[in-house]
């Protein structure tokens, strides 16, 4: 059954081919967002910071000049904490020694890996649990019937309970409950971000449930579960992904805070920026730089994540799209 006559059709086909040549194939929403991201200087700066950070975390530990746990300063008698002697930067030790005579530069490099690990895993935990709860609640509230509202209310009251507690207090209680370890820090920091992800995804899904394409899909008889998974969810993910980037920054800071409070990795010889910050506290009067190095590193990394996250928010915002 042809609608258009053959000649007309050929003409249209030719035009379509011409148009296709100019236009890149299969430009999806994400590719479009990426293209806009590349034009944003803030995104470029953020991305460069992050790439450097990740590179250092991944390959840095293989190239450090000294072992991060090697207390050579004490052994060689250069570091005498009792006399307030902690030497600063030198040609051999670029950032000087710490209070146990270890090379700070090596510890910073090796610590990047731990810090990145904590940030990423904690964010993943928060994203997974939060998206699960928020996704179920959002689908139930937006598409479910009477039961849906009930499911939504139950889940979201639980989230509200989590949200009612100050985040650091919540993290501290979880960490204290589970006992100090690296895994504990990740779980504690992850749990803190669960309510944020859950509320974000739920709100986004409810908003999408009222859109025309959901109505159109319903009018074609598509099942509710299918609508929730293949129509509503993909459209609701953009703000969640942006939030994940921003959460990475706070996760690193919160992990540092937990380590600082002594709820982090009990093996304090393993370098991590938060632990290093905490360890430097007694020596602030003698060598304040020991605290400044990890603090600046944390700030710059968090800044990188935040810059990229904000730029992504702009790039993915449908209102700003042409």
């Amino acid at each position: 059954m042809t609608i258009i006559s053959g000649k007309k059709r050929e003409k249209i086909d030719r035009l379509a081919e011409l148009a296709a040549r100019d236009e890149e194939r299969g430009v999806s929403l994400w590719q479009d967002a990426f293209r806009r991201l590349r034009r944003n200087p803030a995104a470029i700066v953020g991305a460069i910071i992050l790439i450097v950070f990740v590179l250092v975390a991944l390959v840095g530990p293989f190239f450090v000049p000294y072992g991060p746990k090697d207390t050579m300063g004490i052994r060689e008698g250069v570091v005498k904490v009792g006399q307030g002697l902690i030497p600063g930067p030198s040609a051999e030790h670029w950032l000087g020694y710490d209070h146990q005579g270890r090379d700070v530069f090596s510890r910073m490099i090796v610590g990047a890996r731990q810090t990145l690990l904590v940030g990423v895993v904690a964010t993943m935990i928060g994203l997974a649990i939060g998206a699960l709860i928020g996704g179920v609640a959002g689908a139930a509230a937006g598409l479910g019937g009477r039961w849906g509202r009930w499911v939504d209310t139950t889940l979201m009251r639980f989230i509200d309970m989590l949200l009612a507690m100050p985040s650091l207090l919540l993290a501290v209680s979880i960490a204290a409950l589970l006992g100090p370890s690296l895994i504990t820090v990740m779980i504690a920091v992850g749990m803190v971000s669960v309510p944020v992800f859950a509320r974000l995804l739920r709100g986004s899904m409810i908003a999408q449930s009222n859109s025309d394409y959901v109505l159109a899909a319903t009018s074609l008889g598509v099942r509710k579960s299918k609508i929730a998974l293949s129509h509503v969810l993909p459209n609701s993910l953009a703000p969640v992904i942006v939030q994940a980037t921003l959460t990475l920054a706070t996760a690193i800071i919160e992990a540092a805070a937990l380590s600082y409070l002594g709820l982090g990795n009990p093996d304090s010889a393993t370098p991590e920026w938060g632990v290093m910050l905490a360890d430097a506290q007694p020596w602030l009067g003698i060598r304040p730089a020991l605290a400044i190095y990890p603090a600046v590193a944390i700030i710059i990394t968090a800044l990188g994540f935040t810059l990229l996250g904000e730029a992504m928010r702009e790039a993915l915002d449908p209102k700003l799209r042409k």
Partner: protein
Amino acid sequence: MALLDVEELSVTFARRNQRTVRAVDGVSFSVDAGEVVGLVGESGCGKSVTSLAIMGLLPRQPGVQVGGKAVFDGTDLLQIDDRSRRDIRGRDIAMIFQDPLSSLNPVVPIGIQVTEVLTRHRGMKGQAAAKEAAQLLDRVGIPDPKRRLKEYPHQLSGGMRQRALIAMAVACQPRLLIADEPTTALDVTIQAQILELLKELVRDSGTALVMITHDLGVVAGMCDTINVLYGGRVVETARRRPLFRQPRHPYTVGLLSSVPRLDAGRGERLNPIPGSVRDLLPWPDGCAFAPRCARRVDACVGEPPELVLTHDGRSYRCVNPAPVPGLTPGEDVREVVPGQATPGSVPAQAVPNDPPAVPGLAAAPSEEETS
């Protein structure tokens, strides 16, 4: 028997602390197989709510009440359970919406959205579904369908998107297609193409089409039978030619005379209907159109006008319809169907022909004229 028989359909929206809105108030019309039926009226007259009610797409909330019947092929669509309703949607009845961009999922390629329907109702999967989807796109006149299947809605032009939506709607060869202002969001040139496509599909497959529109041009080009809606009621029903040649209800007359005409003189002004669709909130005892009507008489206020059937197969709800040249008023009336709760109302024949010189409306209008 008609394919779809809508009888006394009513939809009310009740909101807390607000008066109940009667969006649709006793709408009746029928659609035969292969017929194109138009629902015409200006914004707010209940066209879209009628279609959503038939499809069961109104929000399921305590405040939303749907009454009456919508019998499709022997089953009342308003009574069946959710499961069978979902089975009917898309397979037997499909709908085309107004805005093709927002009716397509922006993050899912067209192909997946088309195959979804095929999978759901025809059990097709993988290659077979993709092939059928390409054929569907081809059928609705989308060039290079294989490539288009991989593309996203924003890469298609407005006309293409509406074609894709139509492809999804006709994927299972439904017996009834409801098009809710399918051309409103499109350019005029594209509008003509889409209407042509719909006409072709209806002619080829024998699908019945309910065309919801405010565009009289669309109606004139497509519909066999036309129902004019006002204030949630059907005020006039007629075949296409008689309606355009000789509108009877003053609202239809007003609609037709407010359309710009090519053959009108240069300085000639349009004749808009004064006022706007009243708030649907209270259904006054009387004709909803009375406050704006040029042929208003005293009898318009009081009882809702009854349905008048004429000898030439038309019907209207008006106590003082536009006269037909060569006929005395009331001569062509075949039957007056008593409306609900209208005992002892004035028979249509007894209504004086001319409107009163001074619109001396007794009770109700004071509130309406201020609104």
